[in-house]
C-alpha cells in the first residue's frame, strides 16, 4: 500500500507533460503519446503534485472545499495519485 507515511509528497516527473486540447487535459510522454486523460479533479491533484504538498493535505483541502466525506475523498485521491504514479507522471518524494 502506498501513502502510509504522512511525509510522502507526490512530485511531477520531468518525463511527462500536460497538454490541453479543447476541453481535454492530456498527460503525454516525451514521444507525444497520451498516457492519461485527466478530469477536472485529477488535473487539480496533478497540479498539487509539486513535492511540497502531502497526500493528507490534499485530502483535507478537497474535503474542506467540497464538504465531502473524508473517507471517500481519501480513496479517490489515493487512487488518482496511484494511477499517476503507475504511468510515471509522478514520483513519491520523502523530504
Amino acid at each position: 500500500m502506498v501513502f502510509e507515511l504522512n511525509d510522502e509528497r507526490p512530485r511531477r516527473t520531468r518525463e511527462v507533460r500536460l497538454e490541453r486540447r479543447a476541453d481535454d487535459n492530456l498527460l503525454v510522454d516525451g514521444s507525444g503519446d497520451t498516457l492519461l486523460l485527466l478530469n477536472d479533479t485529477a488535473l487539480a491533484l496533478w497540479e498539487l503534485c509539486d513535492g511540497t504538498n502531502t497526500v493528507d493535505e490534499m485530502v483535507a483541502a478537497v474535503v474542506q472545499l467540497f464538504q465531502a466525506d473524508p473517507r471517500e475523498v481519501r480513496q479517490d485521491v489515493v487512487r488518482t495519485i496511484d494511477r499517476l504514479r503507475e504511468v510515471g507522471a509522478v514520483e513519491i518524494y520523502v523530504p
Binding site: D40, T41, L43, A44, L45, W46, E47, L48, N53, E57, M58, A60, A61, V62, Q64, L65, F66
Partner: protein, 234 residues
C-alpha cells in the same frame, strides 16, 4: 427596461453591487435580457447594498470584491450570508485569482465571476449559484486547493505559537486585540503596568511578531481568543 417575466414562472431576482455606475447599468441590461433573470436593484456600496437587500429580498447578489480601496465586497458577502434567509452570493473579481476565489468561498459566496470572462460563463455561474451549487472555475481548482493548503499551514503555525502562551498572556492578548494599551490592560486585570508590559513582551516573542498591532491583527485574523475573553464579534 424591465424584464419579461413569464406569467407562471417568476424570474430570479438579482441585486447588483458595484461602485461603477456604467458597469452596473450595462450588466443590468444584459441580465434583464435573460428570461429567467430580473435585476431587482443595483447599489454602489456596502451600506446601500445591505439596505437594498433587506427591502428588495433578492435571490442572488452579485457583489464586486473591490467596492473601494478595501476589500468591502468580501465583508458584504459575509453580512449577506449571515442574514436570516440569505441570498446566494457571487463575488465579481477583476480576474480569477486562486487566493481571491478562496476568500470569496470562505466569506460564504457560492463562487466568483470575472470581468475578463465572456458573459456566457458569468451566466452559467449565476444559474449554478441560484441552484445552490458551488462554482469554482474548472481551470482554477488546483490553484484554489493549493491556496487552501497554504492557508491551513499558516493557521496551524499560528495556533502552534498561540499554544505557547500562558493563560494570563492569552487574557492580555484578548485585551490587546480589543485595542487597549498596557495601562488599561493593567487596570482591567488588576496588575501593575510593568507586569502588563512584561506580559506583552512575552506575547510578542512567543507569537514571533514585532509589535502590539501585529499581535492584535494576528489574534483577530486567526480568531485567537481565550475561553474567558472573546476578542470580537466580526
Amino acid at each position: 427596461m424591465s424584464s419579461p417575466v413569464n406569467g407562471w414562472s417568476a424570474a430570479s431576482r438579482v441585486l447588483l453591487v458595484d461602485a461603477d455606475a456604467l458597469f452596473r447599468s450595462l450588466l443590468k441590461e444584459e441580465l434583464d435580457a435573460q428570461a429567467d433573470l430580473s435585476v431587482a436593484d443595483t447599489a454602489p456600496s456596502r451600506d446601500s447594498a445591505r439596505a437594498s437587500a433587506r427591502s428588495s429580498k433578492p435571490d442572488l447578489v452579485i457583489v464586486s470584491a473591490h467596492l473601494d480601496e478595501r476589500l468591502d465586497g468580501f465583508l458584504l458577502c459575509r453580512d449577506l450570508r449571515s442574514s436570516p434567509d440569505p441570498p446566494a452570493v457571487l463575488v465579481l473579481l477583476d480576474q480569477q485569482d486562486p487566493g481571491e476565489i478562496l476568500t470569496a468561498l470562505e466569506s460564504g459566496a457560492a463562487g466568483t465571476m470575472s470581468r475578463e470572462e465572456p458573459l456566457e460563463d458569468g451566466l452559467r455561474n449565476i444559474r449554478a449559484a441560484l441552484r445552490g451549487e458551488a462554482c469554482v472555475p474548472r481551470r482554477m481548482l488546483g490553484g484554489v486547493l493549493g491556496a487552501l493548503i497554504s492557508r491551513r499551514r499558516e493557521t496551524d503555525e499560528v495556533h502552534r505559537r498561540y499554544a505557547r502562551l500562558s493563560r494570563r498572556e492569552r487574557e492580555v492578548l484578548d485585551l490587546l486585540a480589543q485595542g487597549h494599551d498596557h495601562t488599561r490592560i493593567a487596570s482591567v486585570l488588576v496588575i501593575s503596568p510593568q507586569t502588563a508590559r512584561t506580559h506583552i513582551q512575552n506575547i510578542l516573542e512567543k507569537l514571533e511578531v514585532h509589535s502590539r498591532l501585529e499581535a492584535a491583527s494576528l489574534a483577530l485574523e486567526h480568531d485567537l481568543t481565550s475561553p474567558a475573553g472573546g476578542t470580537r464579534g466580526l
